[in-house]
């Protein structure tokens, strides 16, 4: 199994994510420069957190045109593997239209960094199958533009297909509609989440719920022929 962590100018969680996959979980992982387009050799592609292109104009608005993101279209179309966007990565995926909706300025208009509680809304997915349905988990967030919004019909679809994976529990830190914190696409191979699993993957930093998310993806990939991933 081989994983890629994409590096855009301005990415700043690339090394953190690489450390969890490569050093903690022992997955063969490459840091992949944003200009690279041959991504087929990877079973897992992570778009890490940070401020690609400074988040100028809108978070993800410039990065979405990067060659590597363009290449993702085909990668997803042929169900080659799993794509995970964390925080800024999530923003890039929505801007690119690879995930529905948009991530806008926090309702407070301020950046917010804290650990939040999340509720597992669907545990039958590659990202969440190590959690119980309805389980409350803890993960850090750190973003200024994490308020998820989408047209009513999109929200309907997300609910119908159970594409909403995590919601903020108790406090809704950024004002996301329906407290949405993580979603996936129809194919069940593209995932976006605002919380940072890589920041809670060691005992030093708390529950370790973050590590479970990476472990879930890896087991999923190991157990299923990457070419025909279970979809949900």
């Amino acid at each position: 199994m081989r994983a890629a962590v994409v590096v855009f100018p301005g990415s700043n969680c690339d090394h953190d994510t690489y450390y969890v996959l490569n050093d903690l979980l022992g997955i063969e992982t490459d840091l992949v420069w944003y200009r690279q387009t041959d991504v087929d050799r990877y079973d897992l592609i992570v778009l890490p957190g940070g401020f690609a292109y400074g988040d100028y104009l809108r978070a993800g608005a410039i990065a979405r045109f990067a060659p590597v993101v363009q290449a993702l279209g085909e990668y997803i179309a042929k169900q080659r593997g799993i794509v995970l966007g964390i925080c800024n990565g999530f923003q890039i995926l929505t801007e690119a239209g690879l995930l529905p909706g948009a991530l806008t300025k926090n309702i407070s208009q301020r950046f917010i960094c804290k650990t939040v509680q999340l509720r597992v809304e669907n545990n039958a997915t590659p990202l969440t199958h190590l959690f119980e349905y309805g389980q409350i988990i803890n993960l850090p967030i750190a973003h200024g533009e994490g308020r998820y919004i989408a047209p009513a019909e999109t929200l309907e679809r997300l609910k119908r297909n159970r594409q909403i994976l995590l919601t903020y529990h108790g406090e809704n830190p950024n004002g996301s509609v329906d407290a949405i914190a993580a979603i996936m696409d129809e194919t069940g191979t593209v995932f976006g989440m605002m919380p940072h699993p890589e920041r809670n993957s060691e005992r030093l930093f708390g529950s370790g719920d973050g590590l479970k998310i990476f472990q879930a993806l890896i087991r999923e990939l190991a157990s299923s022929e990457p070419s025909n991933l279970r979809t949900f």
Binding site: C13, G54, F205
Partner: protein
Amino acid sequence: MHGLSEKEYETILKRLGRQPTEVELGLFALNWSEHCSYKSSKRFLKLLPTAGKRVLQGPGENAGVVEVANDWCVAFKVESHNHPSAVEPFHGAATGVGGIIRDILSMGARPIALLDSLRFGEQSRQLFTGVVAGIAHYGNCVGIPTVGGDIYFEEAYTDNCLVNVMCVGLLKRSELKRAIAQGVGNRILLVGARTGRDGIHGATFASEDLIGETAKKRPNVQVGDPFTAKSLIEATLEVCQFPELIGLQDLGAGGLSTAPAEMAARGGVGIAIDIEEIPLREESMTPYEILLSESQERMVLCVKSGSEQKFIRVYRKWGLEAAVIGEVIAERVYRVRHEGRTIAEVPIELLVGGVPEVDSFPSPPSLALSRPNPLAPFPLGEGSGERSWPASLKKLLQTPTIGSKRWVWEQYDHTVQTNTVIGPGSHDAAVLRVKGERFGIAVTMGGNGRYCQIDPYEGGIRAVCEGVHNLVSVGAEPLGITDCLNFANPTDPEVLWAFEQTIKGMAEAARAFELPFVSGNVSFYNQSEQRKIYPTPMVGMVGFVRDIEKRVPMGFAREGDRIYLVGKLEGKSGGSEYLKVFYNFGGGELEPTDLAVERALLQAMLALAERGLLRSAHDVSEGGLLVALAEKSIASGLGAQLELWDLSEETLFGEWPSRFVVTVAPGNEDALKEFVEGAGVPYRWLGVVGGDSLEMSGEKIAVQELVRAYESALRGIIAREP
């Protein structure tokens, strides 16, 4: 003219033996500005101890470096951005962050943490929120966690806020770089952002009082670009691996008129640059403007001739500018050429460090001073007794200076890089792990100006001790100091006196702990027509946590743990927050610090932590004993039954040095006593951890209520919309 004094101009004429050109005058104006030359402070800074067995790089480079363990070293320094922040809080603070990051980068270190110490007036909402937003904007985007600092609200800072930022970097011993140019024929590269008309004369601006004219003749506000800065960090760390890299230096205040000259001075060589090679942001900039520009996110590199392309390629890959703008020459001059013509040529020795030192004499304040008289009596009595301790405690917790700064640090990304084991909010110092190592690094920064206003010498001592206390509280051994000295106009003999006294105090304390000052910064002219700031030394410190698992928490750990005060129960409590809040009195007499006791305390506390005997520890500082206890409750949600007989306000809320509140597990009382007695330090049983409220002498207050008070402290300032 150009902010040069008569005497300085004379010196230039004499040493140059001719009239300087306009451009040369510009060069002198910047290199000889207080900000860049330290002409008023040098002779006093010499008093600070700088040697130590762990010191790899002391003052004189862009940052200091100390060795930690297993070849790992930390580079750290603090820098002020007071005047720019007073003019434009958001960008002023943001570029302050950017500047200090590049100082750390210049040492070849990866920046791993930021801290900021801020001082505002009691009503300065816009400055406060603007500065915080600016720090968040820049720090969050460059991906360096902001893990600590402190904030005071005090009238003295109303017209002249203080924004001091400290950056800490990590490097291996072998990766250490210097800001040096050497080897005739080697190339000088300018990398990063393009050069524009930013902040021209910023350094001279920082070297005058912030009054009428100065306030008006603002340089163009410098706008920071954290995105470019992030790319600059990554690209620069990449080229730091190239053996052809000889030296590098950030462009700070002074821009191209100072940086190359400083590098040449260190290398004992000269440098010639060609103006037309410099990538510009706007055409039609004059050579004068180009040299004096303070555009951000730029660095100068000296590289082996022939290897230029290798370096340029890396910066281009990161979307940055990189151009060969000059070369190292044998003649020890800074030569500036424009289209083949030499438009400036000044001896390096004259330009760098050639400025005549200012020798005005410090003199102690006359008794006629309106400032709080150090000998004023402690006005106890009036009001005392009327208030029950829970009410007083709540009121203190609600003051912005003591209360929670959550609203601030939750806007800072303090967990990026996944090393933050102890972040902001609930501890005396932050603790970072080093991936793959057992040890950790503790960092802290702060300083109490009111103490220095009353007694700069004692205040200087306390500034250093406070840093030591903060590190020791988390179980860290102090390794080295960086400092930022914020003062008013140094041509005022009383200001200079306070400056000297503060440094003497800091030096005295540092010697007692055998701690070196490895870097720092001086910021003068912090005053307006109405007000001078308090003499305010900010002390930043780095500490060594031998085993990260043995770090000590601040909050109460378990029900039943025994609570002790280590240190004196009584003392003089001038300068305390209590006097300020309840008597609106900023004076009083300071209890002198006994450095022998401090030394012993340090040893005892470290030994206790080392043996895992401390269930929790917290130093007693602003707000005194009861506030320290309350903070331990707030941090943990656990209450305590306290047994104090003397309930005088002075005992409960007074501030004097050398005190910790610690807890130990039942059964470990004797072990504690042994170490503390052995150190010859007084100590006292305070009570037992337990319940959900603080109880004492029949009165109590719920921890929840303490939390509510504590967390509401900043509301008054923030709520003052807009």
